[in-house]
């Protein structure tokens, strides 16, 4: 996906991301390009994620035995807690920390802003997956698709907070303004999370307690099931990291396209003004070289398609 984007070049003045160690160029030499190390990392993580998920599926569906009480339903346990771990702790924690680092003047960099944005967006996907997989488990077990239990409710509340953050991000603004706003929103939401959590725990609870990370740190399941569960955690974490890397990259390209849009529109208007159909003698000398224009027009359009 990314390789098709970086081959296109255009020569206008675009603001790139000089703060980012993994990106080269992006100023006037065309879109920011990933360094080889970054490309390699993304690929390795992606392949590892695919392999991990494949193994989890194989172990979870064929190797492990059905549970005595829950039967085949127990197989959801290899996915659901892992997805929830990513959504509730990893993604949101990363978004909160990255937002704080953005707000802290000494570490202020658009890198943290984009990282937070990527973490939130991927976190939303995982959060929805948590709710769906939990719902699939809840229907046969509890007899309802949705129960107003503490964990479900706080997971849903977290989703809504995440979605609010994304809505705020969608408001058009300069990258720095948007970054500050979003970071504050993430901070306020993060502060709210423990309060929301306690309030819904006190409100009602009937969800089963933590299985792996219980008070004694001794898992209450064992054998192949425990290993599959653990592998599921690792595989889903890898999936998260891979999605995070790709989303981050798209964020950089989005900002690059956004910052170049006005330049591009101006040049297109200029190009119309000097087009041959009207008497060429009256026209001012053309500022941009004619050969550049088509390339300049094409490149961002393609990026825009990729980034959507």
């Amino acid at each position: 996906m990314t390789s098709t984007v970086v081959t296109e070049r255009s020569d206008d003045h675009r603001r790139g991301d000089s703060a980012d160690p993994d990106l080269v160029g992006g100023t006037r030499n065309g879109p920011p390009v990933l360094s080889r190390g970054a490309v390699l990392t993304t690929r390795v993580v992606g392949v590892a994620a695919v392999v991990g998920v494949a193994f989890t599926v194989w172990l979870g569906l064929w190797v492990t035995p059905p549970d005595k009480v829950q039967g085949n339903l127990v197989r959801l346990v290899y996915i659901h807690p892992g997805v929830a771990w990513v959504a509730l702790y990893l993604a949101f924690g990363l978004a909160a920390v990255a937002s704080l680092l953005y707000l802290w003047p000494r570490t202020r960099s658009l890198f943290w802003d984009r990282l937070a944005a990527a973490a939130v967006e991927v976190g939303v996907v995982f959060n929805v997956c948590t709710l769906i997989s939990g719902s699939i488990w809840g229907r046969p077990t509890w007899g309802v698709w949705w129960a107003w239990d503490a964990r479900l409710t706080s997971t849903a509340a977290l989703l809504v907070l995440f979605l609010g953050y994304m809505a705020l991000r969608r408001v058009p603004a300069e990258p720095e303004v948007r970054a500050k706003r979003s970071a504050f929103a993430a901070l306020f939401a993060a502060l709210d999370v423990p309060i929301v959590h306690f309030s819904v725990v006190w409100w009602k609870t009937l969800h089963q307690g933590a299985t792996v990370l219980n008070a004694n740190l001794s898992p209450t399941i064992h054998g192949s099931m425990a290993w599959t569960l653990l592998l599921g955690f690792v595989a889903l974490t890898l999936v998260f990291v891979w999605m995070l890397l790709v989303r981050y990259r798209i964020g950089v390209l989005e900002d690059w396209v956004g910052s170049g849009e006005l330049d591009l529109a101006l040049r297109e208007r200029q190009a119309e003004g000097i087009a041959p159909p009207v008497a060429p003698a009256d026209v001012q000398p053309a500022p941009p070289a004619p050969a550049e224009t088509p390339a300049g027009r094409e490149a961002p359009r393609e990026i825009a398609e990729v980034s959507q």
Binding site: V160, G164, K180, D192
Partner: protein, 223 residues
């Protein structure tokens, strides 16, 4: 800081005293919401009485959104926001002042709604002080969090639609806690029933007041 807060709160309340937007639009909206809830729950008294605490707080939450919108829009015309920033007032004082003005209006609104709940739903208040404390603590939290989010969305054109979506999920704990304390208050429960919820409200208030005092200045610069 406190002097600045009093100045700003006085300004906002004076604007309200002259324009009467909260009195003639926000408070009536709250009463209309109470009426709608009554229609939704049917003419029987029982569901209305049992739902009264929650319905009261939902009405308060919705009205809060309107009050915050108003509090922000007061500053949005004629470059008033820039004027405030140029005035040299302490941002912390500004935050406290804006929040105080909203809180004052919300207290009046809650009085109106309490009377409405008692009269329209037939709910009987048994432990008055519990209900009063819940309202006060809830109001402080709503005003603080609301003012923060109001400032965050101040420069945004889609503020009217964005603010409720951002604010309402954040203040859900106030709805939960307020409702539970009200339930205890209406049932004549002992204070111990409500203690954890009162602590929760206190924590919410403390967190958002503290954050507001610290970050209101940077937020103003950001938007």
């Amino acid at each position: 800081m406190w002097r600045d807060a009093a100045l700003v709160a006085g300004k906002d309340l004076r604007i309200e005293a002259r324009s009467k937007v909260a009195l003639s639009q926000v408070a009536p909206f709250g009463v209309v919401a109470l009426g709608l809830f009554a229609f939704a729950l049917g003419p029987d008294r029982a569901p209305m009485v049992s739902g009264a605490p929650g319905l009261f707080w939902v009405a308060v939450l919705f009205s809060t959104v309107l009050a915050i919108q108003r509090s922000v829009s007061v500053e949005s015309a004629d470059g008033a926001r820039d004027g405030l920033r140029l005035s040299g007032l302490d941002p912390a004082g500004l935050f406290l002042g804006k929040a105080l003005a909203v809180a004052a209006q919300l207290v009046v609104l809650e009085l109106v709604l309490t009377v409405g709940v008692v009269l329209l739903y037939g709910a009987a208040v048994k432990t008055v002080w519990l209900i009063a404390v819940a309202c006060l603590l809830g109001t402080v939290g709503l005003a603080a969090a609301g003012t923060l989010y109001g400032a965050l969305s101040a420069g945004i054109r889609v503020r009217e639609t964005l603010l409720p979506f951002l604010l309402l999920p954040v203040v859900t704990p106030i709805l939960l806690a307020g409702t539970r304390i009200w339930q205890a208050g209406l049932a004549g429960g002992t204070p111990s029933d409500a203690t954890p919820w009162l602590h929760l409200l206190l924590a919410f208030d403390a967190v958002y007041l503290a954050v507001g005092v610290v970050v209101y200045g940077p937020i103003q610069e950001a938007t």
